[in-house]
């Protein structure tokens, strides 16, 4: 029997979830959670050398390989962060051992769902996988069982369900468009078949389908009119989940959208999805930038920052062209790494301070230098200041937009500056000034957050040529 990395990537979390569901003892669970995530990451790394053949259900191609890697990497670092975070929650009694068993099993199940969505070659399977990932995160958002957590989970559930229902309608329409060309049955749902046949699809049917897909998956991406679930889900769930929500789940939903955008780009008569994506992207950016000013809760603050960044990314893909797509892909990667690092530090900070309210914290760089400066570095990176990687991608988005559509660029820059101001304002409250709130010792796991920040810093200073070549190649694919 030959080794199949794709099967290994999918089976590892699935088996781990089954074992974690029955395993007693939180230390054992957290350890196994880390080992399983590490194993998935190692299997994902083998994809770089050996790319398996495309099947009817699964594929590995240039578009998804980096996302799979990123997914497994952040899955692993989050499991390391989660081990120390959850230990603290257990000590303070916010969580009980039985919740933890459930939590760890769900964590692996979520990684399975996301990897399956990324690796799926079948648009129906991709939809099912996104639904699975959503369901598991809903369960984890409600983990604390407080009124607020249940409310957040309920809102996320209902809005997420409407989103995936609309996405399914869009998927059915794509099938209807494909059927006369590709033939009935499974063939007309296989993405690689769809791509080769896309030029002959009925363009008007494809257009309508894309609108449903944009609204459906856009809900999960957290685009502005459909974002209402996102801040609550981030604020009320355990912080490791906030980190994977922002860092991974939003990306997975956006990735699903990109797959369909490639189909549209392959059909010469279909509408350009650009204007729709540009509109939604700018709306999300500007809206979130204004909302950032009124936040009192630190996790909610960074949740709105995620909406803002998703806006920038969708805008970049809407502008399209090699440069726009390149910037979008880079921004997706950088945002995932930076935002999850921020949530790692925020998780420990809220545990020390015993509150999520910004007014209850201050002078972190003095009381907890490592945590405080990690947060400062993360925020400096996320607002797009050099020398971090987000600066590179945002600079690319802005400069390419100025060259092609100066009016849009003005709105874009205004949104960016607004968000910049809001985040720095809050950062000074939290990180500098007199020490506020409890300043007890902290058992933090620093390695995950500094590993992420180091990668983001490296990307800002020197992008490996292989990665640049890959991004350029995929940017052309995206049209």
């Amino acid at each position: 029997m030959t080794f199949d990395p794709v099967a290994a990537i999918l089976l590892t979390p699935l088996i781990a979830a089954a074992v974690l569901a029955v395993l007693p003892g939180y230390r054992l669970e957290a350890g196994l959670n880390m080992i399983a995530s590490l194993a998935s990451l190692l299997f994902a790394l083998t994809l770089l050398w050996h790319r398996p053949a495309t099947g009817a259900y699964l594929l590995v191609d240039d578009l998804n390989i980096v996302f799979v890697l990123l997914n497994c990497f952040i899955g692993f670092t989050t499991s390391a962060f989660s081990a120390s975070y959850i230990g603290h929650e257990l000590e303070t009694g916010r969580l009980k051992p039985v919740h933890l068993r459930f939590y760890h099993a769900m964590f692996q199940l979520m990684l399975f769902g996301m990897n399956l969505a990324l690796l799926a070659n079948n648009i129906g399977l991709m939809w099912v996988a996104v639904e699975l990932a959503t369901l598991t995160t809903v369960m984890m958002v409600g983990l604390y069982r407080t009124a607020e957590a249940l409310e957040a989970a309920w809102k996320y559930f209902i809005l997420g369900s409407v989103g995936i229902a609309l996405a399914l309608f869009g998927t059915i329409l794509v099938y209807l468009a494909a059927r006369p060309v590709v033939g009935e049955g499974l063939d007309a749902m296989i993405w690689t078949n769809l791509l080769t046949a896309a030029p002959q699809f009925d363009p008007s049917l494809l257009n309508i389908a894309f609108i449903f897909l944009l609204l459906g998956y856009g809900t999960k991406v957290g685009l502005a009119p459909l974002h209402a679930w996102l801040p609550d889900a981030h604020a009320e769930g355990p912080t490791p989940i906030s980190a994977v929500l922002s860092g991974l789940l939003l990306n997975v939903a956006l990735y699903a959208l990109l797959r369909f955008k490639v189909l549209l780009a392959a059909n010469p008569h279909a509408i350009a999805p650009g204007p729709l994506m540009i509109g939604l992207g700018l709306l999300s950016l500007v809206f979130a930038a204004f909302m950032l000013y009124r936040r009192r809760d630190i996790k909610r603050l960074f949740a709105y920052s995620s909406i803002e960044h998703m806006g920038i990314i969708v805008f970049a893909f809407g502008m399209a062209g090699p440069l726009g797509n390149f910037a979008g892909l880079l921004q997706m990667t950088m945002h995932s790494l930076t935002k999850s690092a921020i949530f790692f530090s925020v998780g420990h900070i809220t545990q020390v301070k015993g509150t999520q309210r910004i007014s209850g914290m201050g002078g972190l760089t003095e009381s907890h230098p490592l945590l405080g400066w990690a947060l400062v570095a993360g925020v400096v990176a996320i607002v797009g200041l050099p020398p971090f990687g987000v600066f590179t991608s945002e600079f690319l988005v802005v400069s390419s937009t100025f060259a092609r559509a100066p009016v849009l660029a003005v709105i874009l820059v205004a949104g960016l500056l607004l968000a910049f101001g809001a985040l720095l304002l809050r950062l000074t409250d939290v990180a500098f000034g007199p020490v506020k709130g409890p300043a007890g010792p902290v058992h933090a796991s620093y390695i995950p957050m500094f590993a992420h920040l180091a990668l983001v810093l490296m990307a800002g200073i020197w992008l490996p040529p292989a990665l640049v070549a890959w991004f350029q190649h995929v940017a052309i694919l995206l049209g």
């Binding site: 079948n122 129906g124 399977l125 939809w127 099912v128 639904e131 369901l135 809903v138 409600g142 069982r145 009124a147 607020e148 249940l150 409310e151 957040a152 989970a153 309920w154 809102k155 559930f157 209902i158 369900s161 409407v162 229902a165 609309l166 399914l168 309608f169 059915i172 329409l173 099938y175 209807l176 059927r179 006369p180 033939g183 009935e184 049955g185 499974l186 007309a188 749902m189 009925d202 008007s204 049917l205 257009n207 309508i208 801040p231 609550d232 604020a235 009320e236 909302m291 009124r294 936040r295 009192r296 809760d297 909610r300």
Partner: protein
């Protein structure tokens, strides 16, 4: 491939059942009592089951009978029954609170039907007629379901709205001839709905919220307090 000819008996029955589903969707909009709404929901799922079974028959696709069976047993009987029990056990308000008047909502519903016909019929001109009509009517059901979710204040009627929306999607999926994974998707959706219902029940949303009125959720938005 052989398409079912328009205006044959097979086509007319499929068309009638799909049309009935839209009609029942509109009926949901003017219900003012929760228990009555649940009865209409059962009727909605029952018509869906008939429609799916008919599609299974005319497409000679026996696996669709499974979807029809799920619709009948799970969505037409079990879920409305469970929700009804919940309404009684948890002592919920029996009246449905709406945003905007019933008349206005009905007008909006009619406009949505017109909109979906206007949007879908031209673009599906080249596909087979059964799928074409089904998709257009299914979109109406989906949009009315959405309308219901945004105009209803309490959690149970939002769930009913979601279920009718989901029935519309099932109609579209079964109307699209030869679509793979339909059964799997209907199972996935049933699981989703079961989660929602169990969620309401286990988490005792009413106890947590004091009222099952969803606008009470707004206080968790943050920023204001």
């Amino acid at each position: 491939m052989t398409w079912i000819a328009p205006h044959g008996l097979s086509f007319d029955i499929a068309h009638m059942l799909a049309g009935l589903l839209v009609l029942v969707s509109l009926m949901m909009l003017y219900q003012v009592r929760l228990t009555a709404l649940l009865h209409v929901l059962g009727l909605h799922a029952f018509i869906l089951a008939l429609s799916v079974a008919w599609q299974a028959h005319i497409q000679a696709a026996p696996h669709l009978y499974i979807t029809a069976g799920i619709a009948l047993a799970f969505k037409a009987i079990l879920i409305p029954y469970a929700l009804r029990r919940m309404v009684f056990q948890m002592g919920l308000h029996r009246e449905i609170e709406t945003v905007g008047g019933i008349g206005l909502t009905m007008l909006a519903g009619i406009a949505l039907v017109a909109l979906s016909l206007e949007v879908m019929l031209p673009v599906t001109a080249h596909t087979d007629p059964v799928a074409r009509e089904d998709i257009a009517l299914a979109l109406s059901v989906v949009l009315i379901g959405l309308l219901m979710m945004v105009t209803r204040r309490n959690a149970i009627s939002q769930v009913v709205g979601f279920m009718s929306l989901e029935n519309g999607i099932n109609l579209a999926a079964t109307g699209a001839r030869g679509m793979p994974l339909v059964v799997e998707i209907s199972v996935a959706f049933s699981i989703l709905i079961a989660f929602i219902v169990v969620g309401i029940f286990l988490f005792r949303i009413r106890e947590r919220f004091d009222t099952i009125d969803v606008s009470a959720l707004d206080r968790s938005r943050g920023g204001q307090s």
